[in-house]
Subunit: 516 residues, 2 copies
């Protein structure tokens, strides 16, 4: 489908209101989905508006309402594999907040920061200074926006790995231009905006996550007090079906806080993709066969499943935790228990994954893009999994088998939070190969459908699958979606804000059209 | 003001829909505020409706909408000191959910429960069985509803003390009768309702807390895995101005999780009121003078400030934690460091406060009602306080001085969460003494006003002060309240649900009238 153009009058109005250098039109292909699976060109934006401050955001909203132009808000648009900066409605204007990049406050006593949408994990990390009194929790790719990642409920691997849970206080511009501050920020005289989340009365922060109800222009994040030291632990498990016992051993240790950090259980291919490429091990047709995976694992010194976590604190506590954890996992036959020495917090580990565990942003997760060669891309299947061995085994088997049928390796893993696991499978493909791209898209769609039928819901998904994933949340004839639509209509009656995001469509379709 | 009656036609319709035994009219004075400060009779309800299930709730909402009758929802209405079951609009019909008391599920592997509004902390504790694999976190008064306390953002003193944070999944009946389930509960096929909070898309749980947007009919709560053992620690600090160092020493220990539980810092009077009455120590006019407090503290063996917390886990971890904590507090001159021995989790401590710290509901907090004699009652001042010594000292001084001016002792304390403190001061009065009642009400109102001017907001308040407390959340000409009103109007256009709760009034006033 060709790009629908936004009217010249609307573009002129944006330029009038925000200044001509705040509007990009013509070739805005850099805002297209960089990892588009299949044929995603139908979502192309028509222009980009770049506000520099909250007043610019309000001005852009006023123009969008006047001309009924759909805006697609991105903080910096770097959530590759979920769609990047691309909108869901053809001809949308991208509201790109990357120029709003002030770190408004860092409190080095109470351990929190207040940032604008353009602030990346790298930016905030740098601003924390040396030696770091507080750490942030970086997601897999450190170049992303702190606000963007938090609003999408991204996560990392330190004790502060649940980004949505560590958020405290928001400033949101509503579609009508009203500026709302949540929690204690709603009290002008308060100094506790980043101290206490809820304030007084209903709390709206969760409502502005994964939503299209407003434009978040400031967000508070809690930072982790730098511990005295840390110990990174890694365990390798020899057999595919060890997964069940690994999960059931890990769950109580996470739930009672013996292991403080989000622990990661990675398949052999996922680990190997961080340190090698596929053709180092296998160059035949179809998914890597078991024998090739085993040979690769032996050679690299990893297991079919690999567990990584980090213990934090003074030596006495880390040592006591380590002894408890070690004793539990030593029971699993064929387990290899590696560990790094206890290190002072000021000493950085080498690898990217390990650096993330001590709060240092990096981009090593992108190594996976080289796995299959060509122009590497990936698209992800992201269901929630209960922290039960049998559930993890069921999901892993389901995905591995279905992936293999279309020639994809099981690049998968589970991140174990305190109460739930994120199961992430990446379909890695060469985006210059149309057949691989389409196959990746088809595979993810199939997995979402089959998982939904089995009772496994997505926590997040690529643009192309948002309606599908949302439709699976079907209780009482989609009552939750009716609630979302009611609120959408109340807050954004013209439907200008990110129509279609997470499957939420306004009652009135905006002029951009192109909706399914 | 006399009670405005609900119409006979409306009462008949409620009885028709729910059955005659589900409607109480005539004398419903047992639903009046049991601890009403000053003249609160203007809020009297006119009738009570008692649904037995979700269909009854829907039927009651239909009648309320048809007759434009204001409903005032309570789970069981036992939040004494904040208003009990009493409504904010004269002539309201109380929607009392106490008959809905099913414990729908307890998962003894994943550690969660799904309950209805009538389930109390006692009920759930009993249902957890013996030996307990999981603990709940009881609030000060164990007779309250789990849902009621959680929705009001109550808290306790174990590591699961932030009740709102430990909530996972809700079922809500909207004013139009639509039944919504949040999080993974929105997916019919999912088994993960109590596993993962957010689901897919916007999250609404926070919006249904301290609000009047729906009737919560089911709620999931996470339970704490029973630790191997525990050690209750108590420290006494001799001087009033030790508070500052106590807070600054405690903050980093709570923030990095060395102390896992919500720690409580109590004034001498608050401690003493648990174990004695005022006339044991002082019987003169005005607030207890310093010398009397000091003499009392010496006699009981407590400090001007008293810190209580509990360490949980296997002996090795508890011991390591205890050594760290002890060393830090030993630096404060005049500190007395008590501690109870490490105990196996199956061994119960004696006192009520101590029992709460091992997850056992009790009612000993009500001992305070005897402090002043007569028909004891209290009304609370409940500001959030940043966990900074100077802030705590400022708030404590402000309250102590103002309280003394009207003859009230400083029955106060701070509960230290990971990131914020709740400062609670109770004005204890004899409710048969009109002058004391009025003085208590006036004092709390004065404190809220003065605290607000100083930038300290309430996290919760009595019915009589909800409009005042809400008005202090004034950023951008009360933008947060405009958002609440917009959502209120969208979800409850007739304004039948708990009008005035937390200061949120519907656009159309319902027939009950009586609003300020």
């Amino acid at each position: 489908m060709s790009t629908q153009a936004v009217s010249d009058a609307a573009l002129a109005a944006f330029a009038d209101a925000l200044g001509p250098d705040a509007v990009l039109s013509g070739d805005v292909s850099s805002y297209a989905d960089p990892f588009a699976p299949g044929d995603a060109a139908s979502y192309a934006p028509s222009a980009v508006v770049l506000p520099s401050n909250v007043e610019d955001v309000r001005a852009a909203l006023a123009v969008a309402n006047r001309f009924r132009v759909p805006l697609w808000t991105v903080s910096t648009g770097r959530n590759f594999a979920y769609g990047g900066a691309e909108p869901r409605v053809n001809g949308s204007v991208v509201l790109d907040l990357r120029r709003m990049k002030r770190i408004i406050e860092i409190d080095q006593t109470l351990g929190h920061a207040l940032v604008e949408p353009g602030v990346t994990y790298y930016d905030l990390h740098r601003a924390l200074g040396t030696p770091r009194r507080f750490w942030l929790d970086p997601p897999a790719a450190g170049w992303g926006s702190v606000i963007g990642n938090t609003l999408e409920r991204g996560y990392g691997t330190t004790p502060y790995g649940d980004h949505a849970a560590q958020q405290c206080g928001m400033e949101v511009v509503l579609a009508n231009g009203d500026i709302v501050r949540t929690g204690m920020g709603a009290m002008s005289a308060s100094r506790d905006w980043q101290v206490f989340k809820s304030g007084f009365g209903p709390s709206y922060d969760g409502m502005f996550m994964q939503s299209n109800f407003g434009v978040v222009t400031k967000l508070g994040v809690w930072l982790m007090p730098a511990p005295e030291g840390y110990m990174i632990c890694r365990y390798a498990f020899a057999r595919e079906d060890d997964l069940e016992r690994v999960v059931d051993t890990l769950r109580p240790l996470r739930m009672d806080g013996t292991i403080q950090s989000n622990a990661v259980i990675e398949s052999a291919v996922r680990w190997a993709a961080g340190v090698s490429t596929r053709k180092d091990w296998y160059d035949g047709p179809g998914a890597m066969p078991d024998e090739a995976i085993d040979a690769m694992a032996r050679k690299i010194g990893i297991g079919r499943w690999n567990l990584r976590f980090c213990l934090y604190g003074p030596l006495s506590l880390v040592k006591a935790r380590r002894d408890i954890v070690h004793a539990r996992f030593a029971d699993i036959a064929g387990a290899t228990l590696f560990e790094m020495p206890y290190r002072d917090a000021s000493v950085e580990p080498e690898g990217g994954g390990d650096r993330a565990q001590v709060g240092i942003p990096n981009m090593e997760a992108f190594n996976l893009l080289n796995w299959r060669g060509g122009s590497g891309a990936h698209v992800d299947f992201s269901p929630i999994c209960a922290p039960l061995g049998r559930e993890a085994a069921t999901q892993a088997r389901m995905v591995r088998e279905r992936a293999a049928q279309s020639g994809f390796d099981y690049y998968g893993g589970f991140t174990m939070g305190e109460r739930a696991m994120h199961h992430i499978f990446a379909a890695i493909f060469d985006r210059d190969d149309p057949q691989q791209s389409r196959a990746a898209g088809t595979l993810i769609e199939t997995l979402i459908r089959e998982a939904g039928a089995a009772g496994y819901g997505q926590y997040r998904t690529h643009l192309a699958f948002m309606d599908l994933a949302a439709a699976q949340y079907d209780f009482n004839d989609r009552a939750l979606m009716r609630l979302s639509e009611t609120i959408k209509h109340a807050l954004d009656p013209n439907g200008v804000l990110s129509p279609g995001k997470q499957g939420i469509w306004p009652a009135k379709r905006t002029s951009g059209g192109g909706a399914p």
